[in-house]
């Protein structure tokens, strides 16, 4: 388990570092079309390890720059989802009663709609969607499951002795929630965030492939796949390499998330946040 986590975080770290250093590590300009006839659809070679696409652009460079878009969309959308889900679930769990019942029925309703369908319906309203809006929409549709988990934990923690003690020493409701309860829910949130990033990368790739996600000339891994989709027989490398990157990154995120979950799970292992801290 620990070894998997090591490999997974190593893979994620490499991809993140390469994405951050894109201008220095990418061999070519990702949108330059140097020779649209002579350098078109070149197979992988030493000068173009991932080949070139039908506009003579270097696929490796496009993938490196695409990583920036794919990763930042995933990270920001997940950050939004985590914030919304945590707040929503925490309020439902802490306030309880009728408020809880209403909030949770809303989540039940939202969860009953397939997310991809919901996204397609929302995104189809825009023509030429700005990137920030894509992030917001992905974030705003991704918090339902987490809110239920957070709510369940807050609900059970509300009755614990240290919460009663905090109340007995004069702490107010918001203070108890944010300072005493939520830090104890952090393991759940961290696991959900890690798994969420992997999930959003795939989701964003799917949407971009459908033309609903990242708009040209910016490219994410999903839109690079789409660039090569109509000539997959003649120039398979255009779609294959970004596809492999998506799969690798998503698997790494899931493996890391699972490893963290196992590490935080008291039934498997008695690691607590406090111990990680010290």
């Amino acid at each position: 388990m620990v070894r998997h986590a090591g490999i997974a975080s190593g893979v994620i770290a490499v991809i993140v570092v390469v994405a951050l250093l894109a201008p220095w590590v990418a061999p070519y300009d990702p949108i330059a079309q140097p020779d649209i006839i002579g350098l078109k659809n070149l197979a992988p070679s030493f000068s173009h390890p991932f080949g070139t696409d039908s506009f003579s652009r270097d696929v490796l460079s496009r993938c490196i720059y695409g990583a920036r878009i794919s990763l930042s969309v995933a990270a920001l959308a997940t950050a939004i989802a985590i914030t919304l889900g945590t707040l929503y679930g925490a309020i439902a769990g802490y306030v309880g009663g009728a408020v809880d019942a209403v909030l949770m029925r809303i989540v039940d309703a939202a969860l009953s709609i397939p997310r991809v369908l919901l996204l397609i319906a929302i995104l189809a309203l825009w023509n030429g969607l700005p990137l920030w809006l894509l992030i917001v929409v992905l974030g705003a549709t991704g918090w339902f499951g987490l809110s239920r988990m957070v709510r369940a934990q807050v609900l059970s923690m509300r009755e614990l002795d240290f919460v009663a003690a905090a109340r007995a020493l004069g702490a107010s409701g918001p203070r108890i929630l944010f300072r005493h309860i939520l830090p104890n829910v952090l393991p759940t949130i961290i696991v959900a965030a890690t798994l969420g990033v992997g999930h959003v990368i795939i989701l964003e790739a799917g949407l971009s492939y459908l033309g609903l996600g990242v708009q040209p000339p910016s490219a994410s891994w999903g839109s690079i796949i789409q660039d090569g989709a109509d000539q997959i027989g003649a120039a398979w490398w255009i779609s294959l390499f970004p596809g492999l990157l998506i799969v690798t990154t998503a698997i790494a995120c899931n493996a890391l998330g699972d490893a963290l979950r196992a590490a935080f799970d008291p039934r498997e292992n008695a690691v607590t946040m406090a111990e990680l801290d010290s």
């Binding site: 009663a164 003690a165 020493l169 004069g170 107010s172 830090p183």
Partner: protein, 342 residues
């Protein structure tokens, strides 16, 4: 005579579940004067912890403090304060420590942060000043190397040290009243004595009153000035500590005394009070202790006994107070079984 620091009168805390009402605390009255230690004694289910929580208004639905109840503290009626005003009292003027030092501390905050937080909630002290007061308070509770300890997490400390931290949290603002709910129950016997001594020392230093909730008469004998014995959600006996130990009047108190293991008596087995506390949803008619009482006669089933005065500052909720002859002529009192007394 000046007003007592805390005056609880006719406190009723009921838990409502549809038609069923659990009368956990049912008409409890007692006073605590400045600087004194009052012990509330009773077994599980007697309502003593609910009484403690009621004073701080920490009862959560479906529990409710009924309207005729009154809790006066420093001349103010606590039951009429707003939630915000009540919060300024908790931890500041009245503090509470709990039975389980293990679970009553937040596992993800250092102990220093937890003590400093109490200061920051109630005063304008800066982060740095609050931290200094936390360290000072830890030193006062006898923890060695308080500055280093302040940066540690609860799981790094022993049970006794955690209880010292709890005490530091409760006393950092020098409250006028400390409610200690079974403060030593979860600790080793050797540590218990240390913690009790610490509480007494701090009580003298800070001049606070202590309301000690316990089932352990040994603890009571060591620290209490006055004792309130609770049974079935009611006060059944109220006396000074010496008076109670020398001349217990209520059969339940007698039972508690004889159930105490003692070294100076030759007993082969410990005495127990037969039966358990009846459920608070259905107190028996008349005297609530009668099912377990060896003196009980027909009057006990029909007439609910009031608190009869039985001496100087001594009251007992038992008809024996007015029919004392029954005590000698009736069945074997519990105390006789072990040998001495009576």
């Amino acid at each position: 005579m000046t007003d007592p620091l805390l005056s609880v009168s006719d406190l009723r805390t009921y838990f409502h579940d549809g038609e069923v009402v659990a009368r956990a605390v049912d008409g409890v009255s007692f006073d605590v004067a400045e600087g004194e230690t009052v012990a509330v004694v009773g077994e599980s289910g007697s309502g003593k912890s609910v009484t403690a929580l009621s004073i701080l208004r920490l009862i959560r639905p479906p529990g409710r403090i009924e309207t005729a109840s009154s809790i006066r503290f420093q001349g103010r009626e606590l039951l009429q304060l707003s939630d915000g005003e009540m919060r300024t009292i908790r931890g500041n003027r009245i503090a509470m420590i709990f039975q389980e030092p293990m679970s009553a501390l937040n596992p993800v905050l250092t102990v220093g942060e937890q003590i400093a937080e109490v200061v920051r909630v109630h005063t304008d002290a800066s982060r740095h000043d609050a931290w200094e007061r936390a360290v000072e308070m830890l030193a006062l509770t006898g923890i060695s190397a308080p500055r280093e300890r302040a940066s540690e997490y609860p799981h790094q400390l022993s049970g006794g040290m955690r209880q010292r931290v709890m005490i530091a949290m409760a006393l950092v603002l020098k409250p006028a009243l400390l409610i200690a709910d079974e403060p030593t129950t979860a600790l080793d016997v050797t540590i218990q004595a240390q913690i009790l001594e610490l509480l007494q020392r701090l009580q003298e230093q800070l001049g606070m009153a202590v309301l000690l909730i316990t089932h352990d008469l040994g603890v009571v004998a060591e620290v209490a000035d006055r004792v309130v014995v609770m049974y079935g959600g009611e006060v059944v006996e109220r006396a000074t500590m010496t008076e109670l130990f020398e001349a217990p009047q209520h059969p339940y108190t007698e039972g508690l005394m004889s159930a105490m293991p003692r070294l100076d008596r030759d007993a082969e087995r410990l005495v127990t009070i037969p039966g358990v506390v009846p459920p608070s949803t259905a107190w028996p008619s008349g005297c609530r202790f009668r099912d377990r009482c060896s003196y009980a006669w027909d009057r006990c089933a029909t007439e609910h006994p009031p608190l009869y005065p039985v001496g100087d500052e001594h009251e007992s909720r038992c008809h024996l107070a007015v029919e004392p002859l029954r005590r000698s002529e009736s069945h074997t009192p519990l105390t006789v079984r072990v040998g001495a007394d009576s």
